[in-house]
Amino acid sequence: MKELLSGNEAVARGAYEAGVKLAASYPGTPSTEILETIAARHRSIYAQWSPNEKVAYEVGIGASLGGARALVTMKHVGLNVAADPFMTQAYTGVNGGFVIVSADDPEMHSSQNEQDNRFYARFAQIPLLEPSDSQECKDMIVTAYELSEVFDTPVMLRLTTRISHSKGVVELGDPAQGPDKKFVKEPSKYVMIPSNARVRHVVVRERLQKLRQFTEETPLNYVENNGSKIGIITGGVSYHYAKEVAPDFDYLKLGFTYPLPLKKIAEFVDTHEKVIVIEELEPFCEEQIKAAGIKVAGKEYFGHLGELSPHRVAEGLKKAGVVDKILVSDIEPEKGMFPRPPVLCPGCPHRGAFMALRKLGVAVTGDIGCYTLGVLQPLNAIDSCICMGASIGNAIGMEKVQGYEKGTVAVIGDSTFLHSGITGLVDAVYNNSNVTVMILDNSVTAMTGGQEHPSTGRTLMGEKAGVINIETLVQALGIKNYRRVDPYDYDGILNIIKEEMANPGPSVIHTNRPCVLMPKRIMDEPYTVDLELCNGCSACFRISCPAIAAAKETNEHGRPKAVIDDTLCTGCTLCAQICPTEAIVLKSQMVKG
């Protein structure tokens, strides 16, 4: 049977076919849909959101120790969070098969860096598989579990955004039972005190030797012979780009990319006049091949930055002198088009907080989530964004060195606070920092599409859940200045921020409105602009609400008045609160008036 599946859906299907028993993750684009698919369609697998990737990874290790096949998934930067258990699990090996999916984001479609996580597999000295489409995603997951158990190792499956979010036709297989294993006490293998770890490091090196043998033999690495003098070594989605623009060259297609099949590569290179390595981001394969004394070319034609494409691959091959021309249109690229950046939704509860912060002109350390969009003009309300949970630590450091004259405010979402913001707040209390932390709580993990988290009361699989009460937690950490506020009350939130910045010691301001996309509209009735009263001052334009646009009518200076799209307006009232001429009114009042 065939089905159209995205790479993420295919990974979920593969886990089901491999008899996986447990899957754990924290949502992160482009990996999120793997667990969502498992929870929706493959309910034989227990799936859970964990507070962060490190915990998800540790839960996965526990399931593997317990004898079951386990899956942990995350975006590339998530593995930074989970790197601690990851590096040591390479030493302990597994009981039930263990696969870690790293979904990398070349081009940074929705990420803060574009690190190439293939290096993590090499760093930990574990096998690395790289599928190039949905079918391979499904097939390789099944293979990865077999490898994990045969070689007693965690296995990394590395996806990229283009693999995760592309759909293709997949031939489905039958689900299997995972191995029937039990937990066996074996402290010399699973307790990594130095004396045991020294022994296990030797095992890791021996295992790597066996994997070097295996990579030469596995059909995951194969040659496509077309009788060409030019050879291409490639894997992942780059393989398909290359086949698209140069189908007649010979290919060494790599699906098992750590350790590399260096003998197979040497043979391939020996039998071709020129061999070119095509890979996205870092020269991960190319450098290892060159280090082995094998002559290939690559990065000089394709560059280190961003995502490849059929066009970029064609350009690179032309630069390499192996193709004559690139098919392009003669259309002049459209210059000077306006940008269309993502914006906070109409009625988004974060908007009020950012309007107030901009007004105050304070230093604002930001974090990862929808509210990071507060950095964009016209809100311009965020001054740093590094990684999940960084806002509070950033604010503490800034305040310690310069006691910023207008105060330092950290903004962090509810899901991010529970992910890794808590420890920052512990630091603020412990080191008595004069920071004001705003927990912008919209009761959901919004940026990735509205997932549950530890304070929402529901699990990934839809069960009722234990609830972390953020207010109680914050107070238990020793925060004395705790304020709960309505972010739709502009003057209210403005005053509370001022007061808490003036308060010595750490303060927490906790907003109380849910994400506007998730449950329902704030009010049923939209607002409208009374053009008689609107003087074109543009105050409402500066709040960056997608429901507010320029009207055809202008004021005496030719500046446009405002108009509100009533299909988008949620009735959040913020624009009405800041309109100096009270021109923004409920639609019913307008009609009556």
Partner: protein, 201 residues
Amino acid sequence: MKEKDNYSILIVGVGGQGVLLASEIITEVAMGAGLDVKKSEVHGMAQRGGIVSSHVRIAPRVYSPTIGYGQADIIVAFEQAEGLRAMDWMKKDGVAIASMTRLVPAIVTSSKQFSYPDDSIDEMKKKADRVIGVPADKIAMELGNPRLVNTILMGVMSNYLPFDSELWLDVIRKKVKPKFVDVNVEAFNRGRQIQLSTAKG
């Protein structure tokens, strides 16, 4: 297949307009017709009012999930300026179908730095021979639901693909919520007729 058996289709619009559902339907139709198919899109921040684009590739054997510049047989734009922005992908003898819909982003309203084109469809016509402007937003309002723009445009586009109308309608019935099926079928048919009446030129 009537004329050829491979198509690259680029669908563009703004978050929330239904770009992903439309590309899903085309993909299912092509698979139903027995062809290999791949589609590629980027989610994430695009859900928040940013640009959404979906590449659909149809052939007996598809390699790249994305379309190269100048390689799209069909461009479907749910928003006129996004249609103009997508023209880099247009093949010389391709066809572009664009809704007259205008969605001016907040950044243009709030900043003097940027401006929104007066008539993107005219601009598109300067770049390519076959551009069809469709008052899909008006037709959608006539049908009583502004969200039907995507189905109307699919109806227009279906005239340029060798798949039977019934195949399209089967997939639409499967993918759309039951209570919206009838109005979507009507929207698809309206779109299919529009093209036929303007195809003479």
